[in-house]
Amino acid sequence: MKELKHIHEFTKLLDDVNNNLVQQAASEGKIPLGYTCYYIPEVLLNVDKGFSVRLRTPNMGSLDVSTYYMSNYVCEFSRAIVERGMEGGYNFLGALIASETCTEMHRAAEHFDLLKLVPNDKFFVAILDVPFKTDDHCVEHYVKQIRNKVIEPLEKVYGIDYSDEKLREAVKLHNEVCKIITEIGEFRKGPTPRITGTEYHILNLVSYTCPKALIIDMLRDTLEEVRNRKPDPEGTYRARVVMVGSEIDDYEFTQLIEENGALVVADRFCFGSIPGREQIVLPEGEDVLTAIARHYMETSQCARFMNKEKVDGRKELVRKLVADYDADGVIYEQMKFCEYWGYERALSFHILTDEYNIPTLSVDRQYTVRSGTGQLRTRIQAFVESLEIKKIHKQRG
């Protein structure tokens, strides 16, 4: 396929968390607000003069110092966040909004406080308590947490206006970005997709890490371009897969899979678009904040949710994605040392393969793709071959 017009610019934006657009917004008086987890409603960090930056650690080197503080049994993502913080990579942030959802990331956020990582008098760390299920009283608790730990401090420290009007404005912009990203994502369906998984991963990562207002035009252009793009002929890729699992903020992981012949047609992982890029509906008569909080609780596919509907729903969603995107199989991945996804991956693997009959590759992986590519490549190649063999057998009846 012809290269997308803005793809190099998008890729460049992912080289640094404090990229040109973040710097531009900050220089215009906007407040960069860091977060790392879907449990922090992104849209609430984009209200009025605040803007969200989902934290990544591009080009991370040694993790020695953070390993001293957090041991090498904690996931590399958490350690990398602390390491980058110590390097001064997040000094531009106005606040870090975190949650005590996974223990490891919670400890990472605490180190911003313990080690005073950001030399900014106004900087603060907020840590939310998020329920493990989605009943009404749980949503109520979540709303209170957001109000007390996100809205009130941001209003007080930075004077961010959280009026209903501003909230609705933020939801509008958020929904527009989501609409574009989702629409582009739809082009992954069908036998001849007009966008690759890698390109899509890049676009989506940009939408999480850059000020929305500064990227929306480029996203609109890209949507238009994809609409009219001439796809690669059918069969360019040997297989189509849905990627499922824990946090992936490195598009090179998707690239690695696609280099080995499997097109990633759906991204159901943290930092992916399913969930993440659904539009927020604000029902008439419901409090705006509650509607937003409910949206995040209901759409979340985090393995941490314990109620049966969510536990079963996670597996059902993967089955649905395989059907909707006409995928041949699933790559179920989990970052090493992640407790939640470690269990979820093991159980889901059995359910997907034994009960749903969906070929699934189950892998645990390092945070950065560059470390440990060899093994991963071999496993992906073998999986793609097995999918091909299955297809051949199917054709032969």
Binding site: Y68, R107, A108, F132, K133, D135, E339, Y343, F349, H350
Partner: protein, 561 residues
């Protein structure tokens, strides 16, 4: 007469002058002083002379750790210890006699059941080197723990559907996650309750070090990574192996204490295949607004069980149980107070093991606990009043922090016997001490929420680093400790995430901190011997001390129970 007078005169003449008398007296006193001084020096020397090492390590058979003979503790204590050993056997035999077929079937059906046969050896391990009141306290408390679990086995033998098929009692049991303290079920006096993991896994893993290995292998073969915490992992393994007892009207899962534990619920739920309620306990528990949510959760849970069982929650029954529990808490706090003095009474392994099980159920569930508590209180008071010396010299007053290894529960006793490191407080013991306000249902539920938030392994690992990091230094000050034994439970992410901070702050405060690596349920990753080695190295090289009992420094118990 004349003769007498001249004799007296001669005597007077011969008698020493007052100066001569004073001189002689002075010489005598001097000699006596020297003798007394010498005697004093001898006594001091005798007192300073280190007690002869007990040579406890020589009692063990190499590798299996089986005792070659019983420990000699003096006539009275040896006789008492032997009597208690027989008494434990009597309890086990009584259990068997109560339902021979049920117990036999249970033994054949469940691999974990065999671990209970090692109960007497567990008692021996945990009373090693103890004498006098310490020995009595230990036997009283361990026997109570044991009886508590034997009662659970009795229930399994009678109603487990794997063993006896369908039966009406099986449908009257609330099965719950072991991390939920039993308070809540006290309001359902007509229903039975059963902590799912404690009798089949948690306690047996303490009885026999390699007990959980099979379940860990099973779950790792299933695909769960080996780097997760092995406690929930073994729980999931038990579900994979279908080795949980089969009964219950519902399962109450919970999000305590950690991420892994929350995740095993989905494994257990699939296996148990019965109606499940997930009880949420807030993690940021210091915040007032979390309490409303916590109480709402308890109410929802009560409502759920009420609807399923068709019974009403009985707040009077809850009140009676809470009052029993309050008395138990008072006694617990008294133990802690003694441990702050120079004459600590209830320490180390005994402290945390008894506290753990009495916290989880204790007097609430089993009124026998309260009798034992009252007896231990009496024993402690007497021993303290007469300033009874401990069985082993206390060289270091220690706080034991982070989660202990189930496969080496008597490790704190080894610390005392081998190096004189006395564990005065530990993280498992230091949980909620709230006394329930029983004036109204609302006040009881409010306090129950508070209590649950500060449950075992929950209080310190959730809600922010201050609960575990700052809290440690508070305990160090409270107990005048000069040393911290820090379990480095390699798969506990909550503790792993703060290792450097512990290290930095210990250095700043000048507190000696010994890191003891362990893997909670998996003795094949880090053995008991490896754990001892971490301490030995530190004591020899950093502290430059010699052990109290050199025979305990290094021995192989890799094949022991």
């Amino acid at each position: 007469m004349k003769n007498l007078e001249s004799y007296i005169d001669k005597m007077i003449e011969a008698a020493p002058t007052p100066q001569q008398t004073a001189k002689a007296m002075g010489s005598f006193m001097n000699a006596a002083g020297k003798a007394a001084d010498a005697a004093g020096k001898m006594l001091t020397k005798m007192a300073d002379k280190p007690e002869k090492p007990k040579g406890l390590g020589t009692l063990y058979t190499d590798k299996t750790g089986i005792l070659k003979h019983r420990e000699w503790r003096g006539v009275g204590d040896t006789a008492y210890d032997f009597y208690r050993w027989l008494y434990n056997w009597k309890d086990i035999i009584d259990l068997y006699k109560s339902n021979p077929k049920g117990m036999k079937d249970c033994l054949m059906r469940y691999r974990w059941m065999g671990s209970y046969l090692t109960l007497p050896a567990f008692m021996d391990r945990h009373t090693m080197g103890l004498k006098g009141t310490q020995l009595k306290l230990a036997h009283e408390s361990y026997n109570m723990i044991m009886r508590n679990f034997l009662t659970a086995l009795m229930l399994i033998g009678k109603v487990d559907q794997h063993l006896v098929g369908d039966n009406p009692i099986a449908k009257r049991i609330i099965v719950f996650d072991e991390l939920i303290p039993s308070q809540l079920w006290a309001g359902f006096p007509t229903l039975l309750n059963f902590p799912l993991q404690s009798p089949p896994l948690f306690f047996p893993s303490m009885l026999e070090q390699s007990m959980s290995k099979h379940y860990l292998d099973a779950v790792e073969n299933f695909g769960v990574p080996a780097d997760v915490c092995p406690l929930p992992s073994a729980e999931a393994g038990m579900a994979v192996e279908d080795d949980y007892p089969a009964f219950g009207m519902c399962y109450i899962a919970c999000n305590m204490p950690c991420d892994g534990s929350a995740m095993t619920s989905s494994f257990q739920e699939r296996r148990l295949n019965m109606p499940t309620y997930v009880l949420n306990v807030p993690v940021r528990y210091d915040e007032d607004e979390s309490q409303e949510y916590a109480v709402a959760e308890l109410k929802k849970c009560i409502e759920y069980v009420e609807n399923l069982a068709g019974v009403k929650y009985d707040y009077n029954a809850l009140k009676a149980a809470c009052e029993r529990y309050n008395e138990q808490t008072e006694i617990e706090l008294e133990k802690w107070e003694y441990n702050r003095t120079d004459y600590p009474q209830f320490t180390g392994a005994n402290l945390w093991l008894f506290r753990m099980f009495s916290f989880a159920g204790g007097a609430l569930k089993d009124p026998r606990y309260l009798q034992v508590e009252r007896k231990t209180k009496e024993l402690m008071e007497k021993a303290y009043a007469r300033k009874e010396k401990r069985s082993t010299e206390i060289r270091h007053r220690a706080i034991i922090w982070s989660c202990p290894a189930n496969y080496y529960t008597d490790f704190p006793l080894w610390l005392e016997n081998c190096w004189g490191i006395c564990g005065l407080m530990d993280m498992e013991t230091n949980t909620s001490t709230i006394k329930f306000d029983t004036s109204s249902p609302e006040s009881m539920l409010r306090d129950m929420a508070y209590h649950y938030e500060r449950a075992i392994m929950r209080k310190h690992t959730k809600g922010g680093y201050a609960h575990v990091l700052d809290e440690l230094w508070k305990q160090v000050d409270l107990y005048h400790a000069d040393m911290v034994i820090m379990y480095d439970q390699i798969s506990c992410k909550g503790m792993d995430g703060l290792v450097g901070d512990f290290e930095d702050q210990a250095k700043e405060r000048g507190v000696r901190m010994i890191w003891v690596k362990q893997d909670l349920m998996d003795c094949t990753t880090i053995s008991r011997r490896d754990m001892r080695e971490d301490v030995n190295k530190f004591m020899y090289t950093v502290m430059q001390e010699e052990p109290l009992d050199p025979s305990l420094v290094d021995f192989d118990d890799s094949l022991a129970w």
